[in-house]
Symmetry: C2
Subunit: 328 residues, 2 copies
DNA sequence: ATGAAAGCGCTAACAG
DNA sequence: CTGTTAGCGCTTTCAT
């Protein structure tokens, strides 16, 4: 392209990437001038064809919610800093869309993929691995099958949340648990049970209810719990979105929070804490989760052994100024 | 690649894209078998090198917040359905990052770009246009410079919001207005002023305050307003995030909502309405905004004339069960 | 209905 | 230090 510009040929290449070979200052200047003149911009396609690599990283996630947007932001930042191109795939919780994304990324000769699986079905991940594409999971299902992964200390989160409620004097503590067989919800449930046992409280399995991921699911499940003859006095929801739904249900039923019902969530939605100071939560790093996944991926490429990263969580009891009535 | 698989050569090409030339059923079957056997997956790079086009669409946005994530989701869905690859660029409100994204997209030979400008600086857009890449703006600055764009009927939104507050009997209505010279905030302010004038109310320019986009900015600005000797009785915030901040300020100052202070926002954050039934808002289509931008872009490529799309907005008064005290 | 071959823009190996 | 050249995997003429 810019060859006819100056007088030279492919040492344009050496100029644009400060090539593996030095270029004489005079020639370099001529090339640079030509580039500026023609508004030249190297073709990423040709480059990746030649190099057999693409500088593309795939980000595959089940949906874009408040949490995941943060997580992915953390990953993007690290990746872009390395000059990598980031392509997002929102697969809308559909396994077939995961496969489409995988094929696209293989065709792309992606350098790596960060994947938040939406189900326990890892077949798309296996396909990627078999195509030789490094893969890092975030929040993996129970059997991660040896894939490197980043997740949270969910057991501890469940334990801390439940113990906090026990410390407040609660004994009938309901658990809103994710229906899907995702490892994190199982682990959170284990922490919940162990905390109860450690306090000498009975584990009432009827207080563990499986719910979907939406705010409305949290509301509906809480409504049903409150309508029971012997309702719980506290609720531990596996996600903050559900905790918000629970608050809404309390509001609709005229149940005072936290006097009649304590609610605790997981993974801190910023706006919820802002609106509802009483909403205690288990806080977990979000941007860092993405960033660590990205770093793990970069580490893999430089030949490191596959590893797992488990990030710590923390109980956050928000300041609650004055008593909170049934109003929201 | 798969040539040696069957016996043929480049009619693999004709098979994979139902090529411009017909292929005999028998040969086709052999090729398909070979493809399956070798797990072949065509190289996107080679394809776009040859075709001199890339099936890549860029999505450039200042940040990923709740609103924008929805807008972009709408765009992605339309684009992916067309078999286009979508690359997101979060430029973190930095103009230089916009330029980086533009250069990357030019190198990519992107088929088109959907761009949410973060400032009134359209230079990165001009660079794209000059490189022959079709461009659609979302929420453009005042002078859109002839770029096709999708935005909202902001004037009407501002008018409706203000009239609603006037109808409730308010006369001292503050406006939290975006500091940056974005067209939408200016238009909303116009609607605000006109509604006041139409109702015969005075426009008090001291009640119009410039604020940043964050929840904390809304809180701080509202705090300052409430601390004035003659505080407003109502607040119209140019974004729902700020309205949430305003609610928080009311809570901290012990001001009852809506008895002592009415708050109205813009562009409906789902979770806010869920938590805070009293929060009235001007609702605007989000996914549709993205989808329309994508459609506009696709229309451009098939030679349509550049156009502007203006989407309608709507006043949403949420059911507010019972009186709301100062508590949140 | 199919093969052969050229060439997209780039980089790496090979001369000068 | 600089110029030439081959070839990445695909699509597309041109020739069979």
């Amino acid at each position: 392209v810019a060859r006819r510009a100056g007088v030279s040929s492919a040492l344009v290449s050496y100029v644009v990437n400060n090539g593996p070979r030095p270029v004489a200052a005079a020639t370099r200047a001529r090339v640079l001038a030509a580039i500026a003149e023609l508004g030249y911009n190297p073709s990423a396609a040709a480059r990746s064809l030649r190099l057999r690599r693409s500088t593309t990283i795939g980000l595959v996630m089940p949906t874009v919610d408040v949490i995941l947007a943060e997580v992915m932001w953390g990953a993007q930042e690290v990746l872009r800093q390395q000059g990598l191109r980031v392509v997002q795939y929102d697969v809308s919780h559909r396994v077939d869309a995961e496969h489409e994304a995988a094929e696209a990324l293989i065709g792309e000769r992606a350098e790596g993929v960060i994947w938040v699986p939406s189900t326990a079905n890892l077949s798309a991940g296996r396909r990627l691995a078999q195509a030789g594409i490094p893969l890092v999971l975030i929040d993996p299902p129970a059997q991660a099958e040896g894939f490197p992964a980043v997740d949270l200390d969910n057991y501890r989160g469940g334990y801390l949340a439940t113990r906090h409620l026990l410390d407040l004097g609660h004994r009938r503590i309901a658990l809103l648990n994710r229906a899907a067989p995702i490892a994190f919800s199982r682990e959170r449930a284990c922490g919940y049970r162990d905390a109860l046992r450690a306090a000498g409280a009975a584990v009432d399995e009827t207080l563990i209810v499986a719910v979907g991921p939406h705010i409305q699911d949290g509301r509906d499940a809480t409504m049903a719990l409150l309508d029971r003859p012997n309702p719980p006095t506290a609720i531990f929801a596996y996600a903050d979105m559900l905790a918000v739904g629970a608050l809404r249900a309390a509001y609709e039923r005229g149940v005072a929070v936290p006097q009649q019902l304590s609610v605790i969530g997981f993974d801190d939605i910023a706006i919820a804490g802002f609106l509802r100071p009483a909403l205690t939560t288990i806080a977990a790093p979000k941007r860092e989760r993405g960033a660590r996944a990205a770093q793990l991926l970069l580490g893999l490429e430089s030949g490191h052994a596959p590893a797992a990263v488990r990030l710590p969580v923390e109980l956050v009891v928000r300041e609650s100024t004055g008593p909170l009535g049934p109003q929201i």
